[in-house]
Subunit: 374 residues, 2 copies
C-alpha cells in the first residue's frame, strides 16, 4: 500500500528541504482529476512544496504525468479504496486501512509529510485523524477551525469549533480559545488576536451555564494564551471587526457556518438575477464586470477553503467536498502556510503551557459532593 | 394610566369593525416619531386598521395630530415610563406598570386590541407578555418566530425559536413544529407547510439526543398538525426551498438569525464598495439602479420585520429596535394579517388538539424509575 510508484522522481519528498504535503486524491465531488489539477496549480505557484498523493496508482500516474509542473515533485501511494460522503464514521474506521484517506493521514503520522489535505467526508476524516494521530496532551475535544470573510484588516475571522463535536463544556471552550488564538497568530499573522465567545447577547447575564463559566476561564487565560478577550459576541459579529477568533461549540458553529454560506449564496444568486433582468442591467453588468469580479473574489468560498483540525498530534486540512482546482489549491496554500510557520509545535507548546491551569479549573468546577454518596 | 386621550375621535377603536392594533410607541432606537410615522404609513395603506398607541400623552398627541391619515383612528394611552434596551427582564417585571410596553400588552389582555406591536427590548417584552398573557394551555415554552428570505414561492421561510428561550427539549421542539406550521398557513398562506428540524447534517444518526427524539415526535405528528415533515435540515437550508418551517432551539435560532443578517449586510456593503470603485462602475451602478433596488428590496431586513411570539393567550409582534417608518409599517402589516386570519384561535385549537399526544409522548419519555425513589 505504501510503495513508491513515482520511480522517475529524482529525489523523494523528504530530501532537499521544502514542505511535504500529503494529499488524499479521492473522496471529493469532482474526482481525482480536480485534485491533481489543484496540486499542479499550487506546484506552479510555489516551488517549495512537494507532494505525497494517495489513491489508485494507475489513474494518478496518468493524471500526474500530464502536468509538467508536477514532474519529480509527486510521490504516489497506491490506495484502491475510497471513503465516500455517505459512509458513517464508525464503518469507515473498521474498514479504513485500504483507503486513500487513511493513507494520507498515515503519511503525517509517519513524519513523511508535515500536513495532510483531504476533500473527503468530514466526520470520517476527523475520526481517522483522531485514531491515528491521537489528541494532543491536554486537549479533550479537538476542533475544526474555519475562516470567515470579515471587515478585519486580515480579511478573515477564525471560528471554531465548526463541527468536530456537537458538545463542548467550559474547559473545551477555553482550549478552543487557546488553539484559535494560536491559529490566528500563525495562519493569519495577527500578533495578539482578539477572542470572542459566541452567545445570544453581549450582556454578562445571558446564555447557558457553561458559557458563563467559559467566560470566566477565557478571561483569566488572556496572558497565558497571548490574546485579548473581548467577551461575548453575537452571530452578527462573525463577519465584523470586533474580534479575530470566535469560540463556540461544534453544533452552533456548524449551523452558523452553513447559514452564512447559504445566505451569501442567496444574495449572489439574487444579484445575478437582478443583472439578468433587463437590457439596461445587462449592459451595466458588462461595465461593472471588474468590480463585480472583485466582489465575487472577496466572498468566494473557494478562497477560504480549508477547515483546519486543531488539537491533534499532526496537522490535517479538510477541503470542501465540492472544491475544484482553485479550491484545492487554496487548501494546499493554507496547509503550506501552517507547515511553514511551525504552527503545530507552537500550538502544542501553548496547549501544554495552559494545560496546568485547565486542570486547576477542572478541579475547581468538579462536584464537591462526590464524597457524600450513600 | 389607561385614560382615553384622543377625545376628538368619533368612535373608539372597538367600534365599527376592522382590526385594532396596540402599538408601543417607545423603546425603539429612533424614538416615537419613527413609530408614529410607521403607524401613519400603515393607516394610509389600509383603512381597516385602527390603533391604540402607548407612551407619553403630550408628545404622542402632538406627533399624531400632524398626520392627516391618523385623524380619528388613534386612541392614546398615557404611559410616562419606558423600558430601555439595557434593562434586564427581571428588573423590568418589577417596575413595569407605568411603562408603554406594559400598557401595550395590557390592551391585548383586556381584549381591546387583537395584537400588540413593540420595537422595545426583546427579553423584557417576552417576559411581560408571558406574565400578563400567560402561556397557552399545552405550551411549555413560547417561541419567537421570524421570517427568512428564501427561494420558496412565498419568498420566506419561518424559523422558530429565534431567541425566546435558550433551551428546548424534544416536546418543545414538537410544539414549535405545530405552531410554526400554523403560522406558515395563516401568515404566509402555505396550505400544507413542510417542516424541517435544524441539525448539523441530514443523516438520521447525527445530532444531540433531544434532536433524535424530536425527529420521531415531529414525524408522528404530521397529520394532526397538518404539515409534511421533511426531516433534518442544515444551516444552508434556511434560505432554501426544501422547507417552509425550520424548527430549532432559541440559542441556535438566535445565532443563525444574526449570522444570516450579518452576512447579508457584509455582502451588500462589499457590493456598494465594488460599485464605488471606479468611474466605469459608478456609471454601471446608475444603469443598474432599478435592478439593484429590486435586489435591495428582496433582501431588505425591514421587509421581514417582525418576530411573532407564539404560544401565549394573545398575539405580540416584536419589531426590530432599529426599525424606521418602513420597518414599523411592515411589522404592523404582519400584525394585521395575523389578526385578520384569526390566527390566534386556530393556533390555540391546533395546540390543544396536539396537547394530548404531547402528554402521551411525555409520559413515554418520563423516567419509569420514579416510583423506586427511597
Amino acid at each position: 500500500m505504501t510503495q513508491t510508484a513515482d520511480t522517475d522522481a529524482p529525489r523523494s519528498p523528504r530530501q532537499g528541504g521544502g514542505v511535504v504535503i500529503s494529499v488524499d486524491a479521492m473522496g471529493g465531488d469532482h474526482g481525482p482529476s480536480a485534485i491533481v489539477a489543484g496540486i499542479a496549480r499550487s506546484a506552479e505557484k510555489n516551488p517549495d512544496i512537494r507532494f505525497i498523493v494517495h489513491g489508485p496508482e494507475a489513474e494518478l500516474s496518468r493524471l500526474i504525468a500530464r502536468k509538467r509542473d508536477l514532474a519529480g515533485r509527486c510521490e504516489i501511494r497506491d490506495a484502491a479504496d475510497v471513503v465516500t460522503m455517505d459512509d458513517k464514521p464508525g464503518q469507515v474506521i473498521r474498514n479504513a486501512k485500504g483507503t486513500s484517506m487513511w493513507s494520507a493521514v498515515e503519511s503525517v503520522r509517519a513524519g513523511e509529510a508535515s500536513i495532510a489535505v483531504s476533500c473527503g467526508n468530514t466526520g470520517a476524516l476527523m475520526a481517522l485523524s483522531m485514531i491515528r494521530l491521537r489528541k494532543l496532551p491536554g486537549v479533550n475535544r479537538p476542533a475544526i477551525a474555519c475562516l470567515w470573510p470579515s471587515r478585519n484588516p486580515q480579511g478573515f475571522n477564525v471560528m471554531l469549533d465548526c463541527g468536530a463535536d456537537i458538545r463542548a463544556d467550559a474547559t473545551d471552550l477555553l482550549q478552543y480559545a487557546l488553539m484559535g488564538a494560536s491559529y490566528a497568530r500563525n495562519g493569519l499573522g495577527v500578533e495578539r488576536p482578539r477572542v470572542g465567545l459566541l452567545n445570544v447577547g453581549t450582556e454578562e447575564h445571558k446564555g447557558r451555564a457553561e458559557l458563563k463559566q467559559a467566560h470566566e476561564l477565557i478571561g483569566a487565560a488572556q496572558d497565558t494564551g497571548g490574546f485579548d478577550y473581548v467577551g461575548f459576541v453575537e452571530g452578527g459579529d462573525l463577519p465584523s471587526s470586533r474580534t479575530d477568533v470566535i469560540v463556540t461549540d461544534g453544533f452552533t458553529g456548524n449551523v452558523a457556518l452553513k447559514t452564512g454560506e447559504g445566505t451569501a449564496k442567496l444574495v449572489s444568486d439574487f444579484l445575478k438575477e437582478a443583472f439578468a433582468n433587463s437590457i439596461m442591467s445587462k449592459i451595466a453588468a458588462l461595465l461593472a464586470m471588474t468590480s463585480l469580479k472583485r466582489l465575487q473574489k472577496r466572498i468566494d468560498p473557494r478562497r477560504v477553503n480549508g477547515g483546519v483540525f486543531l488539537g491533534l498530534n499532526g496537522m490535517v486540512v479538510k477541503s470542501h467536498g465540492s472544491a475544484d482546482a482553485t479550491g484545492v489549491s487554496a487548501a494546499i496554500k493554507l496547509a503550506f502556510q501552517l507547515a511553514q510557520s511551525g504552527f503545530q509545535d507552537r500550538l502544542a507548546a501553548r496547549v501544554a503551557e495552559a494545560a496546568a491551569s485547565v486542570e486547576d479549573a477542572r478541579a475547581l468546577t468538579a462536584s464537591p459532593t462526590e464524597g457524600s454518596a450513600p
